[in-house]
Amino acid sequence: MTEISKNRATGKPVLEITDATLAYGEKTLWSDLNLTVQPHEFIAIIGSNGSGKTSLLRAILGQEQLTSGRILLNGKPVGHGSNDIGYIPQHRSTDASTPMRARDLLRLGFDGHRAGIPLPTKKVRDRVNHVLDCIDGHALADKAVGTLSGGQLQRFRVGQAVIGNPSLILADEPLSALDLHQQQAVANLLDEERQEHQAAVLFVTHDVNPILGMVDRVLYLANGRFRIGTPDEVLRSEVLSELYGTQVDVVRNQGRIVVVGTHDHEHHPDEEWV
């Protein structure tokens, strides 16, 4: 058994963030953050622009030095990225001339970090085909990545993130720029895949609704402070009002949650969906 699967079997935490503080000069993004992520946990990281959601992911990837505190990935201090992490970036279209098919994108997630020349081996082919089954991607596999639609590309991004069997998946606004239907489809796919591959998920988003049904806990960042708990514990008017230090209303309507009164997104009314 590999070390990772041992961890999963024994239920050791995938990620341990201890007394973590991140500050740029005067501005403290968050301080004394403690978060322990168990295998299989799906955690949504929510907060206004500039609250340090993406910086938290960057700290886990070793791209941002904590001001104080520490982060352990599978018991070891985080390095500069890891092949035990699957990463789903925000949707960005690729130049159409880029010499990469959708199946090549998947393969990069599998063995792109290893030295050498990418020879076509049976092991790789089987693995790619398996993930193509999972994401229902066979029809698109030989298309150039630059010709995929946003929703199609993000499906392959989910596949790329799980193909290497990581213990942790970091997703940075992977649903932005998708329409509501695609958002739900990609979110559902991610949920299925992380269960099949037994990975924990940290999901940065400004809209919790597409993932509300799959989220175990919410980390809500605002004003240099934070709240962690189940969606029902955190996404309440009195909790968020205290966090923001102003009257904030959490409205539930037809299974969706809207936060009103944060004044964070006056220029982006759509982002008022938490």
Partner: protein
């Protein structure tokens, strides 16, 4: 008369060195070109080649080894571009600053040099077919070094070039790879300058891969086609130049350009 192939068989032994050098350069240019294109470094290649020219010219003036001078100039340019221009826009302005500076210095050195005129012109626009043995050893050494390093870093370099954000997250040392790539690019340019000249290096390090990328999106096929296109351009150019007694570069660049144009037409027809 532009072509004279009557005593072609007698000429072939004289160009064996050129053919070997050309084959190696085509391999290097074709493969490096794939990354030059995917990393958006075409313009940087031009900048490096001008400093390579300056280095070679000063070596010529100082009476030292021209290839060594060319390599020194290339590496200085590659290091400057690599250190100062991590973002595409910064990189373009740095290249635009370096290019005329390098060209000017090179012309200064060449103007002060009073040796054989052939050599002077050759550094800018390529040689009449003649690669001597020491030059061939240099080229072979550089080319084999580049190919060996490429074989080791190919996969992570492709990841870092095609999908940098995810590659970084997956632990690929993208910065180190980018430094190594600039080093290789400096060497590849220095080697190519010897054959096609500083002004025309792009035809070896950019055009074949750019052409291949028009007709395929399969990474392995793009790399293969790029090498084939580079080989056809260089070897074809050398063979035609021998018949004409002219520098090889106009032939190399013309073939290379025709291949590119053809690939664009093929791409258009297939759509």
């Amino acid at each position: 008369m532009i072509f004279n192939f009557s005593d072609y068989a007698d000429l072939l032994p004289l160009i064996t060195n050129s053919l070997i050098a050309g084959t190696l350069l085509a391999l290097v240019g074709g493969l490096m070109g794939v990354f030059v294109n995917t990393r958006d470094m075409s313009f940087a290649v031009h900048g490096i080649s001008e400093l390579s020219f300056a280095g070679a010219s000063f070596a010529l003036l100082a009476g030292t080894d021209v290839v060594a001078g060319s390599i020194a100039g290339s590496l200085v340019a590659a290091a400057l571009i690599g250190l100062l221009g991590s973002k595409a826009r910064e990189r373009n302005s740095i290249v635009a600053v370096l290019m005329p500076a390098g060209l000017g210095l090179g012309i200064l050195a060449i103007s002060l040099y009073h040796g054989q005129a052939n050599n002077k012109f050759g550094l800018l626009t390529g040689q009449i077919v003649s690669v001597d043995n020491p030059q061939l050893y240099w080229l072979a050494g550089i080319s084999l070094f580049i190919l060996a390093v490429l074989a080791v870093i190919w996969r992570p370099l492709a990841f870092a070039s095609l999908d940098p954000e995810v590659a970084t997250a997956r632990g690929v040392p993208t910065r180190a790879l980018s430094v190594i790539f600039m080093l290789l690019l400096g060497l590849a340019v220095a080697a190519s300058v010897q054959i096609v000249g500083a002004l025309l290096v792009l035809s070896l390090l950019v055009t074949p891969a750019a052409a291949a990328m028009r007709v395929s999106k399969v990474p392995a096929i793009v790399a293969l086609l790029s090498v084939v296109f580079a080989l056809v351009s260089v070897i074809g150019g050398i063979l035609l130049a021998v018949g004409a007694g002219l520098p090889i570069s106009p032939y190399v660049t013309s073939i290379s350009f025709l291949i590119y144009a053809t690939c664009r037409v093929v791409e258009r027809i297939r759509k």
